[in-house]
């Protein structure tokens, strides 16, 4: 491995790193939003919408991100809607992630025992009030480990963005390998940057799990 080569590639990788990170986190934020709303629809069994959400979840959980990317990137312009590769990446990640997050939030909501709802009702609380004050905080805390796992999964999935010519980490690595054959150095940097991206999430995740459990349940 040539350290000089590595040093000269770092700025390129750093740029790609921030691009990947930016799209990744926008996508994840979108995924959390979509996931939460979908979980609410399923939890409250809202008629019509529930069926649609179930269909959406199955569709996106059972197709690869790459195919979703292609559909959005090449499919939308075909019906007259063109979006940039960046927006496309974030949207696709948000839709894929939303389907996973929905399941995580939903199982968190359903893990809260029904007696909690009944005790809150017995105290005269409205459905909305008891959902916000009693059910949701417990559900979120139960969901945290699954949500963190989803975030890590989604950040890894960003490696397929290069397929729609986003200048992300993967794209940069492939490009440099193609141009200069510095395979070892490029792959080394690729791995390092992904580790830099994911390790803090892992650590923050386990910290958050502990912290949430403590502030939620006192242990």
């Amino acid at each position: 491995m040539d350290l000089e080569v590595i040093r000269s590639y770092i700025p390129l990788f750093a740029k790609a790193f921030f691009l990947t990170l930016r799209i990744g986190w926008i996508g994840i934020a979108l995924a959390i939003l979509i996931g939460m709303l979908s979980a609410f629809v399923l939890y409250f069994r809202i008629p019509m919408l529930s069926g649609f959400i179930k269909f959406y979840i199955e569709l996106f959980r059972n197709t690869p991100l790459l195919i979703q990317l292609f559909f959005i990137y090449f499919g939308l312009p075909a019906i007259g809607l063109s979006i940039s590769a960046e927006v496309c990446g974030a949207v696709a990640l948000g839709l894929l992630g939303g389907s996973y997050m929905a399941e995580s939030f939903r199982s968190g909501l359903e893990a809260v025992p029904y007696i909690q709802t009944e005790s809150a009702m017995a105290l005269g609380m409205s459905k909305g009030r008891l959902f916000i004050s009693v059910i949701l905080p417990q559900a979120i805390s139960i969901s945290v480990p699954a949500i963190v796992a989803n975030i890590i999964f989604l950040l890894k999935e960003t490696s397929v963005f290069s397929a729609i010519s986003l200048m992300d980490l993967m794209f940069t690595a492939k490009d440099l390998i193609g141009l200069y054959y510095d395979t070892t150095e490029s792959l080394f940097l690729l791995v390092i940057f992904y580790v830099i991206m994911l390790l803090p999430v892992s650590f923050a995740g386990s910290f958050l799990e502990k912290k949430m459990r403590y502030s939620m349940f006192g242990d």
């Binding site: 909690q116 009944e118 005790s119 009702m121 105290l123 005269g124 349940f217 006192g218 242990d219």
Partner: protein, 247 residues
């Protein structure tokens, strides 16, 4: 005697299983009614009908003349006036003891925070749990949790309190501390309907004992008559299940 709660011809079934049949019961202000009966006879269902956690097919539950109906808009107002403590310790696990107690008075009754906090602390002191106010439910024993659950119901200032086997899930040594709290409430002239398997407690606290069997009221009388000279065969048989003798 001024009546506060009236149950008229109440029937309730789950699908084709009839759980309660033509229940009639009137409770006076300040009265303590103890409901006893074998497991599965409908005691919990009866209490749940009283505060509208179950829908009613036939008959009526009236709180001070107002019909309790889970599908109408005033059900929440009525539930504020009927406190309930369940068998399982059902505190909100993500809140401290104080927050558990203060949640409903603040969010439902919209009362002043400082005033609610003061009352919560007084009530906690009364049940001997002042030192636990900043703890979480997990850090409390079962008996302590049930005492908090009672305080959480009390702070709403309910006109009627319902207790559903609140000591049934407790270790024997914790039963007493919870029953003592309920005895203390009886001495304050609270109106209560208590479902329990603790016969000695029932005898001590009841103004009236009601025996429920297979969804109907089989016998009701004052505790002395009920325990010492039960009229029906069913009551005698039920009471004999609490007696032990070497064969």
């Amino acid at each position: 005697m001024e009546e506060i709660l009236k149950i008229e011809g109440l029937s309730k079934s789950f699908d084709d299983l009839t759980v309660l049949e033509d229940i009639n019961l009137t409770v006076a202000k300040g009265e303590v009614v103890v409901i006893v009966g074998p497991s599965g006879c409908g005691k919990s269902t009866l209490l749940r009908c009283i505060n509208g956690l179950e829908s009613i097919e036939e008959g009526k539950v009236l709180l001070d003349g107002e019909t309790v109906n889970p599908t109408t808009g005033n059900i929440r107002k009525l539930r504020e006036r009927i406190g309930m403590v369940f068998q399982s310790y059902d505190l909100f696990p993500h809140m401290t003891i104080l927050d558990n107690i203060m949640l409903a008075p603040l969010k439902v009754q919209k009362r002043d925070k400082a005033e609610v906090k003061k009352e919560a602390e007084e009530l906690l002191a009364r049940v001997g749990l002042s030192s636990k106010k900043d703890n979480y439910p997990r850090q409390l024993s079962g008996g302590q949790k049930q005492r908090v659950a009672i305080v959480r119901a009390l702070i709403m200032n309910p006109e009627v309190l319902l207790f559903d086997e609140v000591t049934a899930a407790l270790d024997p040594e914790m039963v007493r501390e919870v029953l003592d709290v309920i005895l203390d409430l009886a001495s304050q002239d609270r109106t209560m309907i208590i479902v329990t398997h603790e016969m000695a407690f029932a005898k001590a606290i009841a103004d009236r004992v009601v025996l429920l069997d297979a969804g109907t009221i089989v016998e009701q009388s004052d505790p002395i008559s009920f325990f010492e000279s039960p009229k029906t065969e069913r009551a005698k048989k039920f009471l004999s299940t609490f007696e032990y003798s070497k064969q």
